[in-house]
């Protein structure tokens, strides 16, 4: 009876919340108060796939759901990206019958790195994807090793791990486990022998802390690494990106399946690869997956094309306090052969909590924007002075840089007859302020 009532109330609240456009964590929060062990009382589907990691969770989950749905699977997933225990509870109860049975073949959960250990106590994933561990929201998360320890507590017996072999810290979760599924990338044409990053989180072995060496870097500390002392090294992969042609916008999986890329970033390629791996394990053929991922455009609002007067552009939603997210967006701009202008906005560091910390600007490899393809750099927002100081520590000529505290003034400046494409790089916390001033496609 209690289960019945809790599910009923949760679903009513979810429905009401949907009407007024409220977030998805509140119904779950109420349900957990009514019945704290509700998650262990519902009957879950045979497949429970969880995805966590610093970057790409939402995109990866969206792509997994897309492939599974295309192939006739019934999937319950948290598309709102509300990934703490309350959000997951809303999802599970929202997809359950009043008798407490989740009505799908697969439950797909995006989980916050720090809260997974609490959520998975009640909902043990059958498959658990860990995409990467980067410096991310240090103002809340501490540092990658701190998050590693929190995630280690979320791995329970009977869960099969699906790990990014190219991330040295993530791979450590696979130490001493037999049934891990590994995905990763062979050498790309864009690989570098030396590190391209403002810092090196792959300098030391995550296991024994001796220095590590790399035979190739895909980006930042993601690549083919080996410890000089303890034998820890990149694991061979079960599912592999065998070739990437970013210029053409194409990746090849396992040497045979070609996927055209709607977004030409290495980042996106890893998300696709994680989704490919999960879908393969769920029994879908490589050919089918490749077809479903071909030119797939994410619907989660992370990449938005727009026009401003006669000019065209793309907003690349990046995460403040997450340097690799910025580095990836910068790489996309730098690869634009016809020439582009780049607008960077830091107005509110976070939308969720108070902070004015700008340390993370120094972890971003802004030096890359000195490349020829980038013609003008426009800085804007409340923290424009801090941006200007950060750029003064690059070799980029000051003539290439314009500053505006007011985002409106920056947009006015860009609304010119220049032919260059515009890339706007900013965070979810600030993107609305920009989009209100341009015409979204």
């Amino acid at each position: 009876m209690r289960v019945f009532l809790t599910i009923l109330i949760c679903r009513l609240l979810r429905f009401a919340g949907g009407l007024v456009g409220k977030g998805s964590s509140m119904p779950g929060k109420v349900a957990l108060r009514l019945c704290p062990d509700i998650l262990s009382r519902v009957k879950l589907p045979p497949y429970i796939i969880a995805v966590t990691g610093s970057n790409g969770k939402t995109s990866t989950v969206e792509m997994i759901a897309h492939i599974l749905l295309q192939n006739g699977k019934r999937v319950a997933w948290n598309r709102e990206g509300s990934n703490q225990i309350e959000g997951v509870t809303t999802l599970v109860l929202g997809s359950a019958t009043l008798g407490g049975r989740v009505k799908s073949d697969i439950l797909l959960i995006e989980s916050d790195e720090r809260f997974a250990r609490y959520t998975f106590k009640y909902i043990k994933p059958t498959h658990y994807v860990i995409t990467n561990l980067y410096r991310d929201q240090l103002t809340r998360n501490g540092h990658p090793e701190w998050v590693y320890d929190a995630l280690a507590d979320s791995i329970y017996d009977g869960t099969q791990l699906i790990l990014n072999a190219d991330d040295p810290l993530v791979s450590r979760f696979g130490q001493g486990r037999e049934d891990v599924v590994w995905f990763g990338a062979d050498r790309f044409s864009s690989d570098t022998d030396t590190l391209c990053s403002a810092y090196d989180d792959g300098a030391y072995c995550p296991c024994c802390k001796a220095p590590m060496t790399y035979t190739s870097h895909h980006y930042n500390h993601i690549g083919h690494y080996a410890c000089t002392a303890c034998g820890y090294r990149r694991h061979d992969t079960d599912y592999t990106i065998t070739a990437v042609d970013l210029e053409k916008g194409e990746m090849t999986v396992d040497g045979k399946y070609k996927i055209a890329l709607a977004l030409k970033s290495l980042y996106n390629i890893y998300n696709i690869m994680a989704a490919y791996t999960v879908a393969s394990i769920a029994g879908i053929s490589g050919e089918k997956i490749a077809a479903d991922m071909n030119n797939y455009v994410l619907k989660n609002g992370r990449v938005i094309t727009f026009s401003l007067g006669s000019r065209r552009g793309t907003l690349l939603a990046s995460k403040h306090e997450n340097s690799i997210s910025y580095d990836q967006s910068i790489r996309v701009a730098c690869a634009h052969k016809d020439g582009c202008d780049v607008l960077i906005i830091v107005d509110a560091v976070s939308r969720k909590y108070f902070t004015s910390d700008v340390s993370w600007l120094y972890d971003i490899d802004f030096e890359m924007l000195g490349c020829e393809n980038v013609r003008q750099i426009v800085l804007a927002g409340k923290y424009v002075n801090d941006l200007a100081v950060r750029f003064s520590y690059t070799d980029i000529s000051p003539e290439k840089i314009k500053m505006f505290e007011d985002i409106g003034d920056a947009v006015k400046h860009l609304d010119s007859d220049r032919a260059e494409y515009i890339y706007t790089i900013t965070c979810f916390s600030d993107k609305g302020k920009f989009l209100a001033l341009v015409k979204e496609d």
Partner: protein
């Protein structure tokens, strides 16, 4: 002048490295020629050859690795500090100067013992906050960010008074340590860029005269924006 950025590749969270870039720039603008050496654990080092030493913040595991190496240089480092040459240690790096560090599992590691404080870590809650700190040797407060999992006991040579944010232990109202011109603080990241007046203070210690500060337009403007945001926050917290 010779600056040492010690343990640069392992105690390097949050853009700490930029403190050395900022100091190098100010000294050069003041007419000095400057070299920076970036050394790792295990590298041989002649501490006495330098005019300034910086060590940044690291993960708890990395701090343990560095502590073992750092203790080998305890005597030379102590002499350096006693000579009055400036040192800046940010984040958890200055914790190595205390008596002991006890980790979340209860293991205890000896520090340098330059100060009498003890450090106790926990692994449940990351303690983070924006901060405003004050001290007598600077006319303006310091702004910045603290990110730690430790609590200090028995601190006697405090560096800052806390106006907003975390203290060195719950409610102590003070933070960091000072001995001669060694400054140790849990402030992390580019502290000297965010606080151009603190940068000038340290540069003056090195130069023995007032450094060039006329180029700091954006640095000063950025400082004022952050300070005003944090003042607003402090006022809200009081209510």
């Amino acid at each position: 002048m010779r600056l040492l950025h010690w343990y640069h590749d392992i105690m390097n969270l949050y853009g700490d490295y930029a403190n050395v870039s900022a100091l190098k720039r100010m000294l050069e603008k003041s007419g000095e020629s400057v070299t920076v050496d970036r050394l790792s654990p295990g590298d041989s080092v002649r501490v006495e050859d330098y005019d300034f030493i910086f060590i940044g913040s690291g993960t708890e595991r990395n701090q343990r690795v560095v502590l073992e190496d750092f203790k080998k240089h305890a005597e030379a480092f102590t002499k350096f500090v006693e000579s009055g040459k400036p040192v800046l240690m940010t984040g958890n790096s200055f914790e190595m100067l205390g008596k002991t560090i006890t980790d979340a599992q209860g293991n205890s590691f000896d520090g340098l013992g330059m100060f009498g404080f003890t450090v106790t870590e926990q692994n449940k809650t990351r303690q983070t906050s924006d901060v405003i700190y004050e001290c007598d040797f600077l006319t303006r407060p310091l702004v910045g960010f603290v990110n730690k999992c430790s609590s200090l006991g028995g601190v006697t040579d405090n560096l800052f008074r806390v106006r907003l944010g975390l203290s060195d232990c719950d409610g102590s109202g003070s933070e960091g340590v000072r001995k001669n011109n060694l400054f140790g603080t849990h402030l992390t990241g580019p502290v000297l860029i965010k606080n151009p007046h603190f940068l000038a203070y340290i540069a003056e210690k090195l130069l023995g005269r007032a450094p060039a500060t006329d180029y700091l337009t954006y640095e000063n403007a950025g400082y004022e924006v952050t300070l005003s945001e944090l003042e607003k926050r402090a006022a809200e917290e009081k209510q």
